[in-house]
Amino acid sequence: MRVNNVRKVFESSRGTYVALDGVSLTISDGEFFCLLGPSGCGKSTLLNIIAGFEPVTAGSVTSGDKPITGAGRERVMFFQDAGSALLPWLTVEENVRFGLRVRKIAKPDWQPIIDKYLRMTGLDTHRTKFPSELSGGMRQRLQIARALAVEPEMLLMDEPFGALDAMTRRHMHTILLDIWQRTGKTIVFVTHDIAEAISLSDRIGVMSFGPRSVITRVLDIDLPRPRDLTNPKVAVLYNEIEALLAPDLARAAALA
């Protein structure tokens, strides 16, 4: 996946807003990549472009050699607000089945796939519940199960655990890493939480505050997993990233 010199301009009645200006990025297959930056830095915009929901104003995004022209079935987007992303009138099992149905997977294969991914996400005992009866963490796991069931190459996650409490979030990290290691999917994960980025990713792309956001730096997180956040190297990385973000945060504060 290559993002090449992407520029994104939003035109509205209030004027023109240059969200991204010259963003370049390469994400390799099977990589866990985090986009990190303050709120309003265009991370979600970039993710929507990678997903194919938003066209670029200039530049290109290619997967393999093919340019991305629209939402593709190889890349499944994963939303923070699971309550609205899931289909609330369908049960846990029916939500997963929905994906298989629209992807035209042969009916006899449905049940084994559903069973496999509900077990992987620990939801197999909650099959007949509706999303409204699930906890926040369970809803996110259902989103993961539904996404994995259609066998995408890439998972795009937009601050997926931002609305969860700290304990549940840690638990979700473990589950996600476990699934990532078992399935070998490429994951692009958007967050504004430095610790979350360090504990999850292979590489972190740090983005600057908008307008005209760019990726200021890409850091390799060369630490063994599972990661120990008390490791002194983590503190070094944390400070390094914080220093990178500091001028932006000051600017954001001045604007607010």
């Binding site: 997903a51 929901f53 939402a71 079935r73 890349r75 499944v76 987007m77 939303f79 607000d81 309550g83 609205s84 992303a85 899931l86 289909l87 609330p88 009138w89 369908l90 929905f98 994906g99 629209v102 992807r103 035209k104 509706f130 999303p131 409204s132 009866e133 989103q143 539904r146 996404a147 259609v150 995408p152």
Partner: protein, 279 residues
């Protein structure tokens, strides 16, 4: 009434024991309060009738009951109820159907919306009552004019609600479905329309109430049957007893129809309704 509330909470949490007991005791106190409220109303009615005003202007409750019984026994009032209800149901059903189809199209096709919205925004101020005179000229005083008037009242309410519902289908839900591989048609049928159900149902419920409000003036001014006609005829003959019977009938009828509507929604559409508060 409490039955419907129980049906709503049941899917929300499986725990049966203490919860159902609580809802039973709360339903008992609810029934007691409702009964108390009705008794109080009858007492005030009696007071107004015999002390404050006079029994001719406001016939006392028992007098009204005495008038009601023979009207019920002879089937006279039931015939009027059947006629009015048929008009309401035909107008409401066709109006809802047309309203849902139009609303979905308007919510989906931007150009159509921009084209038709100004017209709808103006026409919706023409209440069914305002349309009675022209309806009589167009359709006569037969059934068709009543169907038309109820249709008219229902249509605009349902259109506006349906359009809003289609519009507000969460973008994340549509995009998630798109990622999973859903075609535009599938997103429309399997995601957007079900997401709009709570709005559509709310619109239909308001429209049902409005149908009850508009059938009466329609029958008073342009009919020779139905509850509205009964009101009109009794007024001409200064039969206040019979007027009160007709008024009570309207109250009871509206109440029953709304409960039936809610029962249907809770039973058949519960899974589409349960998330209203959530999103």
């Amino acid at each position: 009434m409490q039955e419907t509330a129980a049906a709503v909470t049941k899917p929300a949490d499986g725990a049966a024991g203490p919860d159902s007991r609580r809802s039973l005791s709360s339903s008992l106190s609810h029934v007691a309060l409702a009964a108390g409220s009705l008794i109080l109303a009858f007492l005030i009615w009696q007071f107004l009738s015999t002390v404050l005003f006079n029994p001719f202007l406001i016939p006392p409750p028992l007098e009204v009951m005495r008038t009601a019984v023979p009207m019920l026994m002879s089937g006279e009032i039931l015939a009027d109820v059947a006629i009015s209800m048929t008009r309401v149901i035909v107008g409401f059903a066709t109006g809802s159907l047309a309203g849902i189809v139009t609303g979905v199209l308007l919510g989906r096709i931007r150009l159509l919306h921009d084209l038709l919205d100004p017209i709808i925004e103006l026409l919706r101020y023409l209440s069914p009552t305002a349309m009675i005179p022209i309806a009589v000229i167009w359709f006569g005083i037969g059934e068709l004019s009543k169907y038309f008037l109820i249709f008219w009242g229902t249509f605009f309410i349902v259109v506006i609600n349906t359009t809003a519902g289609v519009w507000r289908a969460p973008i994340a839900r549509q995009r998630a479905a798109q990622c999973l591989g859903a075609s535009q048609l599938q997103i429309f049928v399997l995601v957007i329309i079900p997401s709009a159900v709570p709005y559509i149902v709310t619109g239909m419920r308001v429209a049902m109430a409005s149908s009850f409000m508009s059938i009466i003036p329609a029958e008073i001014l342009a009919a020779d049957s139905g509850i509205g006609y009964l009101l009109q005829k009794s007024s001409m003959l200064l039969q206040t007893n019979r007027i009160f019977v007709a008024l009570l009938t309207i109250c009871v009828l509206g109440f029953i129809v709304d409960r039936i509507f809610r029962f249907f929604v809770d039973r058949v559409l519960a899974r589409y309704m349960s998330f209203v508060s959530q999103t």
